[in-house]
Assembly symmetry: C2
Homo-oligomer: 143 residues x 2
């Protein structure tokens, strides 16, 4: 028997309410960005921050910045797993990546306290993911 107070999707996963998805994004320190690179899908882990309801991150020259400069569609994912209970959840954000160029906005983001763990190379550019869709799902534990 499976009991759940939340709606279930076609895969039998519980749908996490939007407000809970946003809280999980605010608590998380890292996630994974998927985007097209030379026509192929790419996933890279990043450290993000939240600016209101949108995701922001610092980056250096490279494929992530190129994706943002081209205002490419991206997906961003955070998740958590409990291997012992065979449980897990994920939140998926879909939207477009854009560079943040306005100096006032850059100043404000610089004060958010978002620092990549990987700091051997300076990441001077900010990218914002304009979130057009936020969904979350979690595994329904059998009781």
């Amino acid at each position: 028997m499976t009991t759940s107070a939340l709606p279930i999707d076609h895969s039998g996963l519980e749908m996490i309410p939007m407000v809970d998805c946003l809280n999980r994004l605010r608590s998380a320190r890292m996630g994974r960005l998927a985007f097209f690179s030379d026509g192929y899908p790419m996933i890279l882990p990043i450290n993000h921050g939240m600016d209101g309801d949108s995701i922001v991150f610092r980056t250096a020259q490279g494929s992530k910045l190129a994706a943002a400069e081209n205002e490419m569609p991206v997906a961003y994912e955070i998740d958590g797993t409990d291997v012992d209970r065979r449980a897990g959840w994920s939140v998926l954000v879909r939207g477009e990546a854009r560079t943040v160029d306005n100096p006032g906005e850059v100043d404000r983001l610089n004060r958010l306290g978002v620092w990549p763990f990987a700091d051997a190379v300076e990441r001077t550019h900010w990218v914002r993911i304009s979130t057009s869709e936020i969904t979350g799902r979690k595994i329904v534990l059998r009781r």
Copy 2:
């Protein structure tokens, strides 16, 4: 000062040797699959197994199976983070997803012991990621 015995990439990250990448894939229970869905990037967490050096997973009807039926390019990522030390690593696999249709091969994969944590819906299809590229990177800790 940064010390490292491994090559460093353009982002200042240590490159993880292939044999270590494969070992991390063999130890991991889950990862994230990125693929195109209706022209947009999508990321979904899955439980994978290894069949030799290729990644295999069970799935039901849905966008992941559709990607495999169309032999789409995919990316697969596993990672680990140590928030306190601001450390982390990731392994990225790029290749093509294909359904496994040969009954003998399906029988063999069924004996691998790969079961998705999410088991409310039966996942009767096997998908193999033909790995054309495996790379791993880790954050160099400053000493």
